[in-house]
Structure formats: C-alpha cells, structure tokens
C-alpha cells in the first residue's frame, strides 16, 4: 500500500529536523564557550539537508543530512588576562554562534517537525480507516 511510504518520508524528515535541533542545542549550549586560540574556538555547526531520491519512483523522496558544516566567520576576540584560558597576549576567543539566529532556527525546526508529525498522524488515520473498509 502506497500510504506506507509516507511513514518513511515523514520519518526521514523528522530525523533530519531532529539533527537540526541537536546542532542548534549544541550551538546554544556552547555560545558562551571560550578557548585559548582561534583554531580551538567553538564554531557554529549547521546540518546540510538534501533530497533522498527513491530509486523506484523519482517523484517521492525523503530527506537526509549529508553533513554538518561549521561556520567559518571570524570568532570574537576579547582581552581578558585574568581568564585562565587566555593566551600569552591575554586574549580569549569566544564562539561565533549567533543566539538570535539559533533561536529562529530552533523554532523553524520545531514547526517543520510538527507538520511532519501531522502528516504521519493523518496517514495513520487514513490507513486504519482503509483497513476497516467493508465492515
């Protein structure tokens, strides 16, 4: 029954959105992380979504996460010689996470997740009704 594949499609989207929520959580948790060098500073992580094509039927497809990219924008440098993480010149390096961007990302991921749950619920309802056909 073709409604079955909807579970795979919506499920793949839910897991992709879940990864996005996870990276957002990681970014927000590390937004105040400081480190002793520019290389070690925490950089914002973002998942890359791509369509996962079904070989049998090209029109229907789920989503997969092809990878996690790190944001290469410059990190914030701050003069704090009293900080134990500070380098020889007395500088600490903060993360380049933009909390406002991350919050917007979080809301967007949560909304997308919800709409996929809705799709799954509706499909389940339709399938159950189909199973009861003729009774």
């Amino acid at each position: 029954m073709s409604l079955f594949t909807i579970f795979d499609i919506a499920g793949s989207a839910m897991s992709a959105q879940n990864i996005r929520l996870n990276t957002t959580a990681s970014n927000l948790a590390n937004s105040e992380t400081v480190s002793g060098s520019e290389q070690q500073a925490y950089r914002s992580r973002q998942p890359v979504f791509a369509t996962m094509l079904d070989q049998a039927n090209k029109a229907v497809a789920g989503v997969r996460v092809t990878g996690i990219t790190t944001d290469n924008s410059p990190v914030q440098k701050e003069y704090a010689p009293q900080n134990p993480m500070a380098d020889e010149q007395g500088y600490i390096y903060k993360s380049n996470v933009n909390p406002v961007e991350e919050m917007a990302n979080m809301i967007s991921a949560s909304r997308s997740y919800q709409s996929n749950v809705e799709v799954m619920n509706t499909s389940k309802e339709l399938m159950l009704q189909t199973l009861r056909m003729g009774q």
Partner: protein, 129 residues
C-alpha cells in the same frame, strides 16, 4: 453485474489519492531542503487516464509486470510555482502543502466512504435482507 466495475472508480481514486498524499508528504518533508521544488500531480487527468486505461502501461502478456494497475505510469508530477521562493532555492509553501494534504485526506475519506457504501449495498443485495 461485474463487481470490479462497480468498485473501480472509487478504488482507482483511492489509490491516486494515496499517491498524491505521498507527493505532498514529500513536499512537506523537504520544506527546508535547499533547491527542492514542490511537486504536485494533475489529479483529474490522472484519474481520467486510469479509468480509461489508456494513459498507463498496458500489459499484453500475462508474464508482464503490471505496475499497480497502470496507475503509477499514468501520473506525471509537475512542479508547483511557489509564491515565495527562498534564497537557498527552496520553493515549498508549507501552508499551501498542508492545506492540500488535508484536502487530499478528506477526498480520500470521501472515496473510502463511497466504497464502503457500495460494499454495504452489495452485501445487503447478496444476503437479500
């Protein structure tokens, strides 16, 4: 009376609605995928082709594989024009897709109800109650 013929229109519609639900679910699943364009199908044309049996693949030998009663081959999807394409090339209007999905689900239920009615009618005719 051919029971197949009595049930055929709604059964075909049901299977096409399921197929459309899959397309719309794909659109909603890819609502955040870069460069993805929303897809839909021409339901009227697909149903017409499926009922006529002319649009899809027809088997001429009993050993040929029948692709879902010819329904799959007769439906072609097209890309829907988005009102607000995003910067990343994504063109899915989530609200439009959600509305279409709900509508399609109701249509599916309507087809199901018609089928149920037909089956109940046939059953009472068979039992002679």
């Amino acid at each position: 009376m051919n029971i197949d013929k009595v049930l055929a229109p709604h059964a075909t519609a049901l299977s096409l609605h399921a197929q459309r639900a899959r397309l719309l679910a794909t659109n909603l699943a890819n609502a955040d995928t870069p460069n993805y364009k929303a897809k839909d199908m021409d339901f009227k044309a697909a149903l017409g082709a499926a009922l006529k049996g002319g649009g899809g693949l027809r088997t001429t030998d009993s050993r040929h594989i029948n692709p879902d009663g010819g329904v799959v081959a007769s439906t072609r999807s097209y890309e829907r024009i988005s009102q607000q394409p995003s910067v990343d090339g994504n063109a899915v209007d989530t609200q439009v897709e959600q509305a279409q999905f709900t509508r399609n689900a109701i249509d599916y239920q309507a087809s199901l109800r018609f089928l149920n009615g037909t089956i109940k009618g046939l059953l009472s005719a068979i039992k002679g109650e």
